[in-house]
Symmetry: C2
Subunit: 419 residues, 2 copies
């Protein structure tokens, strides 16, 4: 362990904890005022932000980042305005803190209530896109939490500039400096130190790929919410309306293959395989999709590549689709529950009971009847901005909005009551 880095992080953690104590009872007016000021200040500093971002882009090019990664990293005036607009939308959402979830009277006269409260200090570890810095800070602030932001090294200059501007704006509105802090280090070790900061961090939200997931599982003693692992399936049932199945499968795979709610495996009932697969695969191939198919599928469409067992467990995040023929609905459900990551799963079927069975038996954050898996998204579901998509079962499952950044407490009112 780098002890000086650790000391810096512990000090940041202590400041975050102190800020969180203040934020826990901060008024909605103060928090919304800060969010609006953060938005204004981002828009007022476009040249400074683009200059910082240019340094990251230059470094990235030197280090040979792919054009896709550089595109994710790039800021421009429109993207800065989007960040600002995102903060204003968070300000417009109802404040979750203090919401009385229920309240009741016990036979002995005690009044017991359950109230929504902030979690405390949230750590987030993320990559590339600098807008996450503003989105995550805004959501955490609105929910009354302090945040420690650990972005990717490739975006350090951009994240520094964004964090300095929004933290400064918030501070001028009465929010303590510790409430929004960037972990300003290029050392990978900083993330590992965060994973063990139990005294200062109440929860860690890792947003990244398999390597980060593995590192968190191995190192984290801080409770965490795993996000965004998506090995998603579309199952085309024996009773599917194939005219609906074609666009749903195409959209789930092709519209944005790099994201976690894109489909990675197509399951097709044997009874419709010959009618469906040849034209579906042709359409996908014309869009540049590589097919990796089971032997039975290859008997129907012989030219495609054979799938190997690893294909059923791979999140390609690319224009690749695994294809498998199943004998019935139960085999489809079993395949999904065995190989899926519990993200988003879809059935295409006109059969009422098959849809009901699929929706109940598939174990995932979001299950779809006759719609593309691509809809799993906080904005699309109507929650406003999201903090990531949880693929675990504890605390939050699916898109995480403001509510998922809170916890609850019981309040009990008595008048000298003893047990």
């Amino acid at each position: 362990m780098d002890s000086s880095l650790q000391a810096v992080l512990m000090e940041q953690g202590r400041e975050a904890r102190a800020a969180a104590r203040y934020l826990a009872t901060a008024s909605t007016t103060v928090k919304n005022g800060a969010l609006m000021a953060m938005a204004d200040e981002l828009e007022a500093h476009v040249p400074e932000l683009l200059e910082a971002n240019q340094m990251d882009l230059d470094n990235g090019r030197k280090q040979g980042l792919s054009s896709a990664l550089l595109e994710r990293l790039a800021l421009n005036e429109a993207r800065v305005k989007d960040m600002a607009q995102g903060l204003r939308e968070i300000a417009a959402l109802p404040d979750p803190v203090g919401e009385v979830l229920s309240m009741w009277r016990r036979p002995n006269g005690l009044e017991v209530g359950r109230i929504r409260t902030p979690i405390g200090v949230i750590g987030i570890i993320y990559e590339s896109r600098p807008n996450v810095t503003a989105d995550a800070a805004g959501l955490c602030l609105k929910a009354g939490n302090a945040i420690l932001l650990r972005g990717g090294e490739e975006a350090l200059n951009s994240n520094r500039a964004i964090a300095r501007i929004i933290a400064g704006a918030a501070a001028r509105c009465g929010i303590p400096e510790g409430a929004i802090q960037l972990v300003d280090s290029e050392e990978r070790e900083a993330a590992v130190i965060m994973m063990k900061m139990n005294d200062c961090l109440d929860v860690l939200i890792p947003r990244g790929g398999k390597g980060l997931k593995q590192a968190v599982m191995e190192n984290a003693t801080v409770p965490y919410i795993m996000t965004g692992m998506g090995n998603c399936h579309v199952y085309v049932d024996e009773y599917a309306d194939l005219e609906k199945a074609y666009p749903i499968v195409f959209n789930a795979k092709v519209q944005r293959p790099s994201v976690c709610n894109a489909a990675e495996t197509l399951l097709v009932h044997a009874a419709v395989a010959e009618a469906f697969l040849p034209s579906m695969i042709k359409e996908l191939e014309q869009a540049g999709v590589e097919i990796r198919a089971c032997e039975r599928s290859r008997a129907v469409v012989p030219r495609v590549k054979a799938a190997v067992p690893e294909d059923w467990d791979t999140e390609y995040l690319d224009l690749i689709l695994a294809v498998k023929i199943v004998d019935d609905l139960e085999e489809a459900i079993q395949h999904i529950n065995a190989h899926g990551t519990g993200h988003s799963e879809a059935i295409v079927s006109q059969d009422y009971s098959n849809v009901r069975r699929f929706m109940a038996a598939v174990d995932a954050a979001a299950v779809y009847a006759n719609a593309s898996t691509r809809f799993t998204d906080g904005n699309v579901f109507g929650f406003g901005a999201e903090m990531g998509i949880s693929t675990q079962k504890l605390h939050a499952r699916g898109p995480m909005g403001l509510q998922e950044l809170t916890t609850t407490k019981f309040v009990v009112y008595g008048d000298g009551h003893v047990r």
Copy 2:
């Protein structure tokens, strides 16, 4: 690692996973039928249960267990009937599975809903009291989860008998054998193996002391819910009605000192210390309570023992009370937030604003106005049986009932929708 023990546990885990898939969509009728049969079978096997329990009691005496521990371990006919009654009460509770938490229509016509579902497989690590075996199994079954039960070695014979009887009764009602399983090993390592069974366990609930907490924090890669650490405080405010303060403090400390919601530290506002402390301490001492006081308190009641810094962080679970004088409400809140374990915290005050401030600013699972901390309990709050009291902020906080043993999924209904 003991590889044969590990193999046995992994096999149990696989059976539990398969059972959980069945339970996820099992009908309420089947689950309630099993709970009622489990209750009947426990009552029908009292002699067998008492015989097994006698073996544990004999072993415990040989190994020099304290009389308090032996008392917790002991079964008798009334306690078996209580276990059975607990299962019947769980059967009478509403089934949480399938509850539609909300459902809405998006502008594009998609219908999105949030549904309560089982978590899957739950592991519980607990000590002494054999009734936990039946309570935990009953709650998990009702919530549609399979359970792996790891009780204390001291209760192994009792737990074996209980688990065999209830799992057999459930199996005769159509519940798969894997749904209720005891981890039948005297090895401490069995618990450590459970902490790493990520493929088979969705959540681990440790119920025990500091040693177990530490072992879980160090070893667990399975998500866990920490329960029952209670360094609880009663704060007697400047504006307290002292006639209410005496019984509240006395009850919080004396009524059952061995449990997590008992008070461990008394905080007293300086303005009422001279009026309140002498008679309060006298009353506590007459009940056998040892007082460990700050220097300012000892200026008021000179004969009592001096507190050392560790006293503010100690959960005595015994007839010992730390006492500290504070200068104002904010000092009390800061002391509690710095030294408390986030369990149960009480203020005694007639001042409206001070009560409001305390309830909002104290960071704990349960905060009390003018009532004893001893009320933090699932039954007392009106939830029926409880699975423990969570002192963490993620997923569950405070007494955990059926709801806390579930997660949610999004269901999305479309008609050929693509993004």
